[in-house]
Symmetry: C2
Subunit: 393 residues, 2 copies
């Protein structure tokens, strides 16, 4: 990718950037501005750039009509514009929306240049990219091999990671690169190799990955498209273990992340969002005396919540969060961002203290990542025993 | 905003785009590439562009060291690079990270051109933009007034919205614009006015807003920075009512959204993520016979879940979700995306059927939006009575 440019719905600006893109690249992808409303000017701008007319395409119009019919809705007349196609362009059918994609190939300066125009709604763009554009590109082009591999780390910062990895000048160069990409789940390490064959490129990536894993393997929870919740889910499934969540400060975010994984109903029994002390006491069996003496944000409450939800939902593992997400509610003793995370299984329970220093939503995200990482480390370290019925009293 | 460009960590490309940006704009903002790792080249590229040296700034170095000390971590030596500042640039202190921002103003072509360089980590960029950059810009510049106002709609699609709004050609023009911005919460309508004074611009926006509200007011849940969860939370607080959630297919996402709102502990009592039938029966008192006969994804189960969680957590309002998020688990009768949403208060209960047709995560998002919108409409329509103790039997 040479460049990504975001523009307003402005015909002249679209044409200017289309020109600049053709100058630097052989493939140009435009997204957005294909809708039925007056501010959608992409097709008009593109047709004018090539000096071709927009033509009504009856087949596309039938698909647009069918889509409204399927959802039992009347089609507003403005959707007729979605069936207009620039002359000479091929239509890429859109099974998940009303605006089709477009494909245009031309020979210029002795090479094939391809323009792809896609709707801007993310899942429509993704569907068309995966099902229509990538297969066509594979058959059209004989490209130099560029391959990426991403190692996903968590629980360690960017500069500490680089320090542990050490000097890579003997390995990296023009054909092998490493990028540090921080996110709220952790730092992603993106390895990129360039070469003439798939084999040569894979070998370069392997060599760098082995080198990195020798130094930082314990922080790597997955690769490429993995997610922390997906990896934890896969481990729970492999171990045949179930999990239950007692969430106070994360307010359901840990459950939400775990249940984003297809098939998670096999190991997520459920959870309790225990936002009030009443719920902590009545549902999770937290001791009112401990709540009174040590406060809701305390080690003992976190451990009791994890034990309580594990017992209550008869899960193998119970985890909990209790903290001060902010912006208010902090004290000198327990500033905003203070979070206790509890863990319980048949072997016992424990809690870890974290201190995040961000805004409410980010503190919730970071706490949920810490919970998932704690479960991952427990599952890595030891064989978690199943829930025993006699404990459930 | 003339243009947003995303680039790789490439000195030459950064310099080329910096040149193009200066050509089209008076303010250029660069984000990212200020970190301590070898791929962070922004400062080097910018210094070379202006032909100035990078100088070590002792005060910045002290701040970087203090930040590591505060978090009780050792500072890796590579962080020394974060204290290098291009000659002639001002430092914008970064209270939430180690890389400071930079500010550089110059006179060129008879105008003041400003370059701002900010760290790429989103909350660091946002903090510096809000606390350092915006106040400086306000004092530096005498700009033509551009004002935006956004009306947030939900429960209606883009083309149906446009049809209800009707012809706006008498209102819109070069100085007043309307953009349709679809998202998973609904379509945002962004009104933009240009003018010489704040008063004139506000008047234009008011006229367009009144015109729109006459036509689509019931679909508008808020404006500008409002969120649906924030608006629902504000209404619950105004009415002095509490809410409890019983989530199956949304897996905690509704609770997560509601608890993203600061102060939500005043009205969110908590929730139950009822992913297994066992939890639905044992905790939410769903009838095993109904589960058996009609399945977990059914109107009666949705209503029982809403009633059950309301009673269990002693809330004024109980809401529930039960559906098939996908990708598997669908049937001809109940395809993936089928979701029942339940609602219960002192006056009774009801359930609504939705059919979403997307992927798992998006189906969860759309279902959570539908829940929040249902609560909003109930609170709009009638005065929800408080939970009565005698019902809790």
């Amino acid at each position: 990718v040479v460049r990504v440019v975001a523009l307003g719905d402005d015909e002249a600006a679209i044409q200017e950037q289309l020109d600049a893109a053709y100058h630097d690249g052989d493939l140009v992808v435009i997204t957005g501005g294909l809708g039925p409303t007056h501010d959608d000017v992409t097709k008009v701008a593109v047709a004018a750039y090539f000096g071709v007319a927009l033509q009504f395409d009856a087949a596309v119009f039938e698909q647009v009509k069918a889509r409204f019919a399927h959802r039992a809705r009347a089609m507003p007349e403005s959707n007729r514009s979605q069936a207009m196609v620039p002359e000479g362009f091929s239509v890429l059918p859109n099974p998940v929306g009303t605006a089709p994609g477009l494909w245009y190939a031309r020979e210029a300066k002795g090479r094939t240049q391809v323009l792809v125009v896609l709707p801007g709604v993310p899942y429509e763009m993704q569907t068309l990219m995966r099902d229509e554009v990538m297969p066509r590109l594979r058959s059209h082009r004989d490209l130099r091999v560029i391959a990426h591999r991403t190692l996903l780390t968590t629980g360690i910062g960017e500069s500490n990671l680089q320090e542990r990895i050490g000097d890579l000048s003997g390995l990296l160069g023009r054909s092998l690169r490493l990028a540090y990409l921080p996110s709220t789940t952790g730092v992603r390490l993106r390895l990129t190799a360039y070469g003439d064959t798939r084999g040569a490129v894979a070998q370069q990536l392997d060599r760098l990955e082995v080198h990195l894993r020798e130094r930082i393997d314990r922080y790597i929870f997955g690769t490429d498209g993995d997610t922390l919740e997906g990896v934890v889910g896969w481990m729970l499934r492999e171990h045949g273990r179930t999990i239950a969540l007692a969430e106070s400060c994360t307010g359901g975010f840990v459950a939400n992340r775990l249940t984003n994984v297809p098939g998670s109903s096999a190991y997520v029994l459920g959870g309790v969002v225990a936002y009030s002390n009443g719920v902590k006491i009545d549902v999770l069996d937290v001791s009112p005396a401990v709540l009174e003496e040590e406060g809701a944000v305390s080690e003992r409450v976190a451990r009791q919540m994890a034990r309580g939800v594990r017992r209550y939902l008869k899960a193998d593992i119970g985890v909990s969060t209790t903290g001060i997400a902010g912006p208010s509610g902090g004290s000198p003793d327990k500033p905003v961002g203070t979070v206790w995370i509890g863990y319980a299984d048949a072997a016992g329970d424990q809690a870890l203290l974290f201190r995040f220093a961000h805004d409410r939503v980010l503190n919730k995200e970071l706490a949920s990542t810490a919970v998932l990482e704690l479960v991952r480390r427990q599952l890595l370290r030891r064989n978690v025993a199943p829930h025993e019925e006699h404990e459930a009293s």
